[in-house]
Symmetry: C2
């Protein structure tokens, strides 16, 4: 489906459309953006994809700080987007509000939880959109929908006015139609100077990360990988995360400590509300919360130690201009109506996807997903990660790829 032909109604990306004018003029003049419905826009209820949440919370009285920054930089806000309930899914099928359209692959899920934000961008209904990303909620829908996606270094973009899920991993993410817009939006939100581009020193291809991916994903990513050195400059090197961290745990098990911390924190953030409001959830999300509530919280102590060790090891390993390169997701977007089973271990969709997305989460690293490939038209993203705090460099690297070099 050509994105220019898609209407707001056909996209099913929005929970509400409106027109909020810029508050000032700046780097984002003339750009239209959409906001995930876990992020406050003044005067609206932040529904978090769940009607009980919406009805049990008052309307926002001010914009989230990140929304304010975008309006002050000249952008125009066109609406709020559908997301997975309480942002706790990677699929994008909302029991109450339906499934936002994956424009390039209409029979597949857009990915979540920032499903509507990715859909709105891929459908051409916004130049960029705000998402959130705790365990992949911006990067996965970017990969599935064929948009650019950015997860910042943890703690570098304000989360004030954004509904907390798991604060140790919560970030505000950006989805965009091209790398130039992505970089400018990132620059505004980070409050950083826009640096001149410079080539990376070393690009580490993470061997275990590619090995986790399906054969078709590995195969279509091989061509963009081959072209990386000529596009970016820098030395390409195969590296093993197991040698970087060296604690005897394989990358395929990183999802495990990640999920322990994430679930413990979700219960801390949402448990009291769930117990008192007794919300109606869709069946898939209800099952996820059920799984979460069975967590043995004594495991938090060891998981926190692993988090600290992984973050330290990765940030000592990476030079300021080094990059990691991994597939954003290990598999194509699942088909609609056929959700993969939720679990944190094994070879299923969730544990493999979370093993890849948890590299940035555990390491506090910034990550950009580039829409670099497709399997018979179904998009799949290639990701670059930088050292903690090197967001501006990473965004400038992303700009070295233009539309011509991407395959969507």
């Amino acid at each position: 489906m050509k994105s220019s032909d898609i209407s707001v109604a056909q996209s099913n990306a929005f929970i509400a459309t409106f027109d909020l004018s810029p508050l000032s003029s700046g780097l984002l003049n003339g750009l239209r953006f959409a906001v995930k419905d876990t992020i406050d826009v003044a005067g609206f209820k932040t529904g978090c994809g769940n009607p009980t949440w919406r009805d049990s919370h008052p309307a926002a009285v001010v914009h989230a700080v990140c929304v304010e920054q975008l309006l002050l930089a000249g952008a125009e806000c066109v609406g709020k987007t559908i997301c997975d309930e309480l942002a706790f899914s990677l699929l994008g099928e909302n029991h109450f509000y339906g499934t936002p359209l994956n424009a390039h692959a209409p029979d597949r899920v857009p990915g979540g939880s920032s499903s509507g934000s990715a859909s709105a961008v891929a459908c051409g209904l916004a130049d960029f959109a705000l998402g959130t990303d705790t365990g992949g909620s911006t990067r996965v829908p970017a990969s599935n929908c064929g948009t650019w996606g950015f997860r910042p270094s943890h703690d570098f973009i304000s989360v004030a006015g954004v509904n907390p899920l798991a604060p140790s991993f919560d970030t505000v993410g950006v989805l965009a139609q091209n790398a130039g817009v992505l970089a400018n939006v990132g620059t505004v939100l980070l409050g950083c100077a826009s640096l001149p581009a410079r080539k990376p020193t070393i690009i580490h291809l993470i061997r275990e990360a590619f090995a986790l991916a399906d054969a078709d994903v590995q195969q279509v990513l091989s061509e963009p990988l081959r072209r990386l050195p000529e596009t970016l400059g820098g030395a390409l090197r195969e590296s093993l995360l197991e040698e970087v961290v060296n604690d005897g745990h394989r990358l395929a098990t990183w999802a495990d400590p990640f999920c322990v911390i994430q679930w413990a924190e979700i219960e801390s953030c949402l448990g009291a509300w769930i117990a008192s409001a007794k919300p109606e959830f869709g069946p898939a999300i209800a099952a996820s919360f059920q799984l979460m509530s069975q967590l043995d919280r004594r495991r938090v102590a060891e998981a926190m130690e692993r988090r600290e060790q992984y973050s330290r090891s990765l940030n000592e390993f990476l030079g300021p201009y080094d990059l990691l390169c991994i597939p954003t997701t290990p598999a194509l977007a699942p088909h609609k109506g056929d959700p993969p089973k939720r679990s944190s271990s094994g070879s299923g969709y969730y544990p493999r996807t979370l093993s890849l997305t948890s590299i940035a989460g555990m390491g506090r690293l910034p990550q950009v997903s580039l829409p670099m490939a497709n399997v018979n038209g179904v998009p799949v993203g290639l990701s670059l990660l930088g050292r903690h705090g090197q967001d501006s460099f990473l965004l400038q690297v992303a700009k070295m790829f233009d539309r011509e070099t991407t395959l969507i």
Copy 2:
């Protein structure tokens, strides 16, 4: 007053006392701790120092992650402590629950917002206590009450289950009776390895920070400063933050961008609840919220840029084993019942205090306040700050001071 003679009732430090046994055994075996009432303990309402907040929120169903970590490391929880309403004050005089005792200076405020946590530790009713620290809420009461205090690198201790105030600056802090306990508690919460002590490379005495302090504070800190090199090793050097950041702004004005971001984020976190619940506040806190609501949120964009620039400059300036040294507070604790006027600029108590505390806030730096001096028995703290992420090193440095070298 000798701390061993003070009862729970005399301290007025606690909103509730109880006995929560350790969940396991570890580094904190045998230690008793108290928890600020902005942090969840399962089965209790988290009251945040305000009765309307308490009554409009359900009881916690699980412990905050940081509480869980302490119980798992062998510590015993003895109660929840009084704090300033919604943690939005540096004084520690609560309109509804009274003023926790400042054991060393009973006619002065304990400092806030973690007033009861500092009081409980200084009164000998807990070995250590959890506080929170957004703009000084652990460091200021540590200085006022003559305890050790630790604000971690932003984002390095989980805030899940802790009531958000201004997420870009919110941290979980620790108050402790001695540096050994402080370091062990920090090690558990950070999930980090306990490193062998090593001497700092350079200790930068920040000249403008000392110049902001009252003459009596400068005078009593001169003796511990003189002894720093022999206690710690390392080279002592006078440095100017204005040369490190070099953006034309004097340290005395750092409170300004700090408050812009803090107030904008507080409004994002609490504004909707205030508008809908119409809480009763004490007069001082009501005035603070009134001031906050008048913020021109267009100032957020520039303040965020300054924050990013300050953080980057400070962390590039500091080597991994360098320290900054400043007074924790510019003045002795104010007398009870005579609150200084709240403002973000000028030479009053708040702007001077916030200029000092905002160095860690703007820089994302870890800070330890050491109970090193007193003016006629009234405590005042000396602070050491490290590079972002160097918390473990900083805590080991603090351990080089023992009870003999402190002056409280």
